[in-house]
């Protein structure tokens, strides 16, 4: 860096980070350290080497801390690191679209936080991160970074009055397992434990023969295996609820100034703030179980928000009435009924849900694997219900300001998007759709997933839908 006046506002991460960093690298150091000690027979020399290792990791943390600084100057945030190479990343403040503050467990003990920036430059790419600033500094920066085109305030302005939209009651945590996403928690935990055993087993002098022997021993005790499987299955809803509760503990959604802020989590408290004027719509998803229990999940469709499935989340699994309230509050009320798609769409949904299983069943019967054949037959029969439900899900509509499309069964998703967010249309027709006189019409939207599809709409219906939402664009190309 050429010589220049030190910028007065240049700041470092909190020195308390030095307490965390060595602890964070400790697990990866533990095994080599133990190896050195064991290999050296716990001699004084091996202790010296181990001490070198620890000292080295502390030194590394200190150097990392000392060489990193951040500055807010002239409407830009500059992150500079001068370690081995020198790098400066400049982020114009007007490109910052969201600020995400999280407090992992160790950080929380010391009153620190991690601040992540959303610049909306491209997909899920993180463009800036300040890992290890004090919580107060994080709050100050959030205010500064999100107050566009205003000079950097030295003093924190009076905190705007927070307006709490919803504090999720504990009772709603019981809806967690219905989404299905957390149901396999016990199996994931067992898989993780086995993986860890393999990883650490090697270090502890166990080898493949021991693993094979353990496997054979288990195989020799089938009752134990069955018992373990039953225990895991029984544990599914409980562990799923527990896991879900850890992530969605004390979920609060509130308005702060012109932002919507969602806060959640037990161990790792996560705070996501979404700029209200960038919200273009919402998406509601339900599994069949959730539909039965009349609960749903809700996301905001936000322009330039990476990783929108995690960060756009406005509510955990919540009763449908609450979901509709919050959706109306965040985006606007939408009650227009969906228009169904033509009967040909039902035939297509049914065919696609049934045919693959029928083919599989026939092949398996022919090859003599009757058991798999029976299983495939069962799935084919289940496909009838699935296909019919998928057809019932299909629909699209427009109420004058927002369009809506819905599809899916096991994950039925309905998106509601403002007309002004539409940047174009794509109509697709596969060879099979052409036979059936159907098309998939996609509203291109510069937010959320980028495109919202009305699957298997009728040909005329699809063109009329696009023309209804954006008449100026479509009128010249319609046949009268």
């Amino acid at each position: 860096m050429p010589f220049q006046e030190p910028v007065p506002e240049a700041a470092r991460l909190s020195p308390k980070l030095l307490l965390i960093d060595p602890i964070r690298v400790l697990p990866s150091l533990l095994v080599p350290l133990a190896g050195v000690l064991v290999a050296g027979g716990f001699s004084p020399r091996s202790f010296i080497w181990a001490a070198f290792g620890v000292a080295g990791s502390v030194l590394y943390a200190v150097v990392r801390w000392a060489t990193f600084s951040y500055t807010i100057t002239g409407g830009r945030l500059e992150l500079s690191r001068a370690f081995i190479g020198r790098s400066t990343r400049v982020i114009p403040l007007e490109r910052i679209r969201g600020v995400d503050v999280t407090t992992p467990f160790l950080h929380r003990l010391l009153g620190l936080a991690v601040l992540k920036l959303d610049t909306g430059a491209g997909g899920d790419k993180q463009e800036g991160e300040l890992d290890g600033i004090t919580v107060e500094e994080a709050e100050r920066l959030r205010a500064v970074l999100l107050s566009r085109h205003t000079p950097v305030a030295q003093e924190q302005p009076a905190a705007p009055q927070d307006h709490v939209f919803l504090r999720v009651p504990m009772a709603w945590l019981r809806y967690g397992p219905l989404s299905g996403a957390y149901l396999f928690t016990p199996f994931a935990l067992v898989a993780g434990a086995v993986g860890l055993a393999f990883q650490w087993g090697g270090e502890l002098g166990l080898d493949e023969d021991d693993a094979v022997a353990a496997g054979e021993w288990l195989w020799g005790h089938p009752l134990l295996l069955v018992g373990a499987a039953i225990v895991l299955v029984v544990l599914m809803p409980f562990l799923a609820t527990a896991m879900y509760a850890v992530f969605n503990w004390n979920f609060v959604l509130f308005g702060r100034g012109d932002h919507l802020v969602a806060e959640r989590g037990l161990v790792n408290r996560r705070v996501v703030s979404l700029e209200r004027r960038r919200i273009r719509g919402y998406e509601i998803a339900e599994s069949p179980l959730e539909r039965r229990a009349r609960v749903a999940r809700l996301w905001a469709v936000v322009t330039g928000l990476g990783d929108s499935q995690t960060r756009g989340q406005l509510l955990p699994v919540a009763p449908r009435a609450a979901v509709d309230d919050i959706a109306a509050e965040a985006v606007g009320p939408f009650s227009e009924a969906l228009r169904p798609h033509p009967p040909a769409a039902r035939r297509r949904r049914l065919f696609r849900a049934i045919a693959p299983w029928v083919v599989l069943a026939l092949v398996m019967y022919a090859l003599g694997y009757a058991l798999i054949g029976v299983a495939a037959t069962v799935l084919a029969v289940a496909g009838i219900a699935l296909g019919l439900d998928r057809y019932r899900s299909l629909g699209h509509t427009y109420d004058g300001t927002r369009l809506s499309v819905r599809s899916g069964s096991l994950r039925r998703a309905q998106a509601v998007v403002e007309r002004r967010a539409v940047v174009g249309w794509t109509i697709e027709q596969s060879w099979f759709q052409r036979r059936a006189g159907l098309v998939t019409v996609i509203a291109g939207v510069g937010a959320g997933s980028g495109g919202y599809k009305a699957i298997d709409a009728g040909e005329t219906q699809a063109a009329a839908f696009a023309a209804e939402v954006t008449p100026d664009w479509m009128a010249p190309f319609l046949k009268r």
Binding site: Q429, A443, A447, G450, M474
Partner: protein, 169 residues
Amino acid sequence: MRDALRDPANQVSPRARSLWFAEAVIVTVLLVGGLVLLSMWMTGWEFLPQWLLDRTWVASLVIGLVLVPFVLAEPVVRFAVHRWELAADVVYARSGWLSRKWVFVPVSRIQTVDKAQGWLERFFGLATVEIRTASYAGSSTIKGLDYEVAARLAEELSRRAQELRDDAT
């Protein structure tokens, strides 16, 4: 879609047929050639049954024969399907072969306009215009344009896009 949408006004360059034919031939030759190499290699696989080892060449022959009508049909069908138009500040483009795709991109939402020319396109004097918006579903790629036409279209679009730039999204 015949009842719902009219055809875009302009055809692509007639030379696009040669381009698509050349591309299809290249892909087919590579595929069949790869299969021939594979079958020559397979003759050394002694764990396969003898009747299969004697006929490893069948697959490349069958696939080659099956592909011939496709190679012949694709350029003709594509030339009939691929059309484009710029009217009322909206780009309307149709593309596809076995499947179809209609794209409508309003010029006011365009973010970038690219003009591209691969080596095969250069050989036939053709070019591709790529129009991008903030969404994949509002983005269009018009292939097989005469180079001059593509250059004029790209120029016109980027000029108009600048005049109309509307950052509502």
